[in-house]
Amino acid sequence: MTTAEHAPRQIAVKVSPDGDKLITSGAHYLHMSKKDLVEAAVAFYLDARREEMQAGMRELLSELDGSRASRVAMLAGMTRAELESVGGADEDDEDD
């Protein structure tokens, strides 16, 4: 006989009635338990959103060319041309 103290701890998650309906029918459709479906779906969604976040950051980083002027322009929320038109930024301490 197994004892309850060896069973992994389970956590209840509250969802809306519509969400529960979707999870229930999805679990039937995929022949999975509701628990396994929710865990797999969350991991899948987080990975997808992580890809999205990384892509967004890569896009922002691609606007930076290693120059100080590119960083100052991004921080100021202006284009490089706008920054140059009002004086530009020193590159003197650049040593990356």
């Binding site: 990384q54 606007e63 960083r71 929320g77 920054l83 009002v86």
Partner: protein, 253 residues
């Protein structure tokens, strides 16, 4: 409250005949006798000033030193030198008379082009700080922020390289922690932890300041091996070029 006095970019270029310095030099620190005099006169918000009476659409004040004459417009805690010129021999007030004449002509042009017409006799709005002055103000603030970010990030990386622990500071209202783990299977691993609501462009700047990391190799993590990510916490990681790490350690902090 002590006021700064800045020239508008138009005044700096056209009236004072000075080049626009890099954004690392605040315009209120440009060495010029008229700006120094204006800073002295307008530093105290309570001091009395002589108004330019011929300009009736804005309140402009006189500032004078040696042969230089200027017009100062006060905006809350900031004063702007909006026009400047030199007195010519035998005509002590000619700068202000010329300014009034230009402003009257500007008023005539304004009324010819726009409705409703101005009821004032002068129009000096074109002298006041505008879009490019706002850009310059933002550029100076960004240059200061970038320098602070750069010093902070490099110090944190250097400290973590020395002991392998996370080092953290508060920066722009957020907690920034950096941990560098050298010798991770012959690789140097760097993790950036930011807690707080931070605009994405600030995160990009921080990541870009970590030396020796490929820009397209940053990974975002939603969980740590030993714990969950806290609310408003974001974690980014990358592999650092050991040569860049060694170079940073050789630099003077």
């Amino acid at each position: 409250m002590a006021r700064q006095v800045r020239p508008t970019l138009r005044c700096l270029r056209e009236d004072l005949g000075l080049p626009v310095p890099r954004a690392d030099v605040p315009l209120d620190e440009i060495p010029h006798p008229l700006l120094a005099k204006a800073a002295e006169r307008f530093a105290d918000g309570q001091a009395g000033h002589e108004r330019i009476r011929a300009i009736d659409d804005q309140v402009l004040f006189k500032v004078k030193i040696q042969r230089w004459r200027g017009a100062v417009w006060v905006d809350d805690d900031l004063a702007w030198l909006v026009a400047a010129g030199q007195r010519e021999d035998g005509s002590p007030e000619d700068f202000y008379a010329a300014l009034a004449a230009r402003s009257n002509a500007a008023r005539a042009r304004y009324n010819a082009e726009r409705t409703p017409p101005l009821a004032s006799t002068a129009y000096s709005g074109y002298l006041l700080p505008g879009h490019e002055d706002d850009l310059r103000w933002r550029a100076e603030a960004a240059a200061r922020t970038e320098r602070r970010f750069r010093t902070t990030v490099r110090n944190l990386v250097r400290q973590s390289l020395l002991d392998g622990h996370e080092h953290a500071v508060m920066l722009e209202g957020a907690a920034l922690g950096i941990q560098v783990l050298a010798d991770q299977g012959h690789e140097t691993y760097v993790a950036i932890r930011i807690i707080g609501s931070v605009p994405r462009r600030l995160v990009a700047i921080i990541l870009s300041l970590i030396p020796g990391c490929q820009a397209d190799a940053w990974m975002s993590d939603y969980a740590m091996p030993e714990r969950a990510v806290a609310p408003e916490e974001q974690i980014w990681s990358n592999i650092m070029d050991p040569a860049a790490a060694a170079k940073l350690l050789d630099e003077q902090p």
